[in-house]
Subunit: 365 residues, 2 copies
């Protein structure tokens, strides 16, 4: 059977290896496996969310309120915008997909940093668009600006702030300066999946969605419940943008794109900001240990504004990841990004201490 | 901002109105609202599934096993196929989307019955393809065959067996006869969302996925956990097809396209077939009452092989639905399908008895 030509160029996203796989392939018991590979919240989610889901589990047979009225109202209040400025996605991934399908096509281009969230390129390829990348791995404003000026037909630009999988983050002032150069007809997606971490560590990194979209009507801000809010498994993200943009993206949203329990979980998670703050404080306390550990082993690392850290290792990154996995520790190999590096999610104190011990054995061994 | 031209022709799916909306708009307490509009299982889901989700709610922070190993293995065993014959979607809706994006494009066509599941057309339009429809509302093999023969470039055919929102169902022998006429390069999607109901009521309607795909390599069978399995809110469906087709569709699947709790719920639901059987038995016991009620009120109905029944009412269907809603009962108006008809989900005995009473008042009043 023949398929549409665009499928020939598609590759699948390489997801972090699940605990179940390590159990199956290495015969290690699930309780002995540590997964610090996918930037999930190591403290789980708010106990109040767990309780709410336990109480409402019997509602699994019912489709969710497809208008997502309550969640949108809560997000609108949090950010000082209106419900009509908000679209809910199955993870912010899906809002990336909507943004690309709304604007990108085989006769235009999109612009991204060389090493950034893989889904921009994966969804981009599905539209048949051309993908322009900066020479540098991370976000370099000068390079982005030069490429933009030299290409007249850039439909979408993605800025991942802070950047996954590298961890660096542009200053807000630099971002706003760059945005002034961009045409009204280019959609700029500000991916704030890790903004809760970056804005806590350094106020200069903070992007306020309301200020962003009121200043630049051609932008959309992406947020997610998967990282700081500890709901990675529930697939809820959102886009905040000008009403005209949001209305167009809604045409691409399928009904019931998040589950009944996901909707409930997100609504409840917004009510427990204390949990989020405590997770973020612990994250940066533990992050310091990762920096010290890297220095001790003479490993170059990228200062991180997220809940993970990227080590530019001197031994083969695939070897390190494979050896760690045999010992029940899952981290993320960045070989497929063209880097001999590993990305490690900052875990709990216990998880991190075990990682340090085993990693050192492998690295020095 | 300009968007891709295809967006101009897109409309959103009109989802069944949620209970929350009736509560908000009509000031009726949630406990007093009956929703028999979206073909959810009125008996909920298996209590074993509820318990499993309560026990694993704390895992919401973790992404699901993206290989979906355990669920695929369980489905493979159930249907006597291999894991590689299976793709999991966020509802079978998403497998419809994959099928269309894999095959349909602006230079070819797709073929559907005039009145069938709305998502075939909605996703079809996103690809820019041309949508061919039969003159008759339901599935008419002769009409489908004639249209197919008169159009050389039909990329995808959808057969909804039994058909939503009408409830009728083609015999398996007629379907297989039709499939013999279809080119190897046309993908035929057999949507079995309600097959559990149809095959219980009449063995002649039963489509066995293994026999189907082994006889016709250009077909894909869709199943869902949303209807008989009572997990409409959890968004899990699947496609079963030739490995080559499934491999191609996987290129369009985004990572983590179902939630961690959805994956668990589906796995557990497959272990409690008794619950499914009991739901289906009750469904057809109650269905008889809907047929008798229609006869009593001299309303024409379509004999149904599903968990809903379609009444071709003589009063205005919008009036009936609106009046019912004011009294806290949600059913589905089929006006947007060009029919003065309503679709009612077969509820529990209590729900149905209340519907009969209120409906009769409105219809005769």
């Amino acid at each position: 059977m023949k398929f549409n030509k665009v499928l020939e160029s598609l590759v699948n996203y390489e997801a972090g290896k699940p605990i179940e796989l390590v159990v199956r392939e290495h015969g290690i018991e699930a309780k002995d496996v540590i997964k610090i590979a996918s930037n999930e919240n190591p403290y789980g989610c708010s106990p109040k969310v767990v309780k709410a889901i336990q109480n409402e589990a019997f509602k699994m047979s019912l489709y969710p309120d497809d208008s997502m009225y309550e969640l949108k109202e809560a997000l609108a209040e949090k950010y000082g915008v209106e419900s009509e400025n908000i679209i809910i996605g199955s993870g912010s991934d899906q809002v990336i997909e909507f943004s690309l399908f709304a604007k990108a096509n085989p006769s235009n281009k999109i612009l991204v940093a060389k090493t950034t969230f893989a889904m921009y390129e994966i969804y981009g390829k599905r539209t048949g668009t051309t993908i322009l990348k900066t020479p540098s791995h991370g976000h370099n404003i000068q390079e982005l600006s030069d490429i933009y000026k030299n290409n007249k037909d850039v439909a979408v630009i993605f800025l991942c702030l802070p950047n996954n999988p590298l961890g660096e983050c542009l200053d807000k002032d630099d971002v706003f300066g760059f945005l002034k150069e961009i045409s009204d007809d280019t959609l700029v997606v500000i991916d704030g999946a890790y903004q809760e971490f970056a804005s806590f560590k350094d106020k200069n990194k903070k992007i306020d969605p309301k200020e962003l979209i009121n200043t630049f009507a051609n932008t959309i801000y992406l947020g997610t419940f998967s990282k700081a809010y500890g709901l990675g498994g529930m697939r809820v993200g959102y886009g905040i943008g000008d009403k005209e943009i949001i209305k167009s993206l809604h045409k691409l949203r399928s009904p019931f794109n998040i589950t009944t329990l996901s909707l409930k979980a997100a609504i409840e998670a917004l009510k427990d900001e204390e949990f989020i703050k405590s997770s973020i404080v612990s994250n940066f306390e533990e992050m310091v240990k990762y920096e010290e550990f890297a220095k001790k082993l003479d490993i170059e690392f990228i200062p991180s504004y997220t809940n993970f850290i990227t080590y530019k290792v001197k031994k083969d990154s695939s070897f390190i990841c494979e050896e760690l996995m045999k010992r029940g520790i899952i981290i993320r190999n960045l070989k497929s990004y063209g880097l001999n590096a590993v990305r490690i999610t900052i875990g709990t104190k216990e998880q991190n201490d075990r990682l340090f011990k085993v990693f050192e054995d492998i690295y020095r061994g």
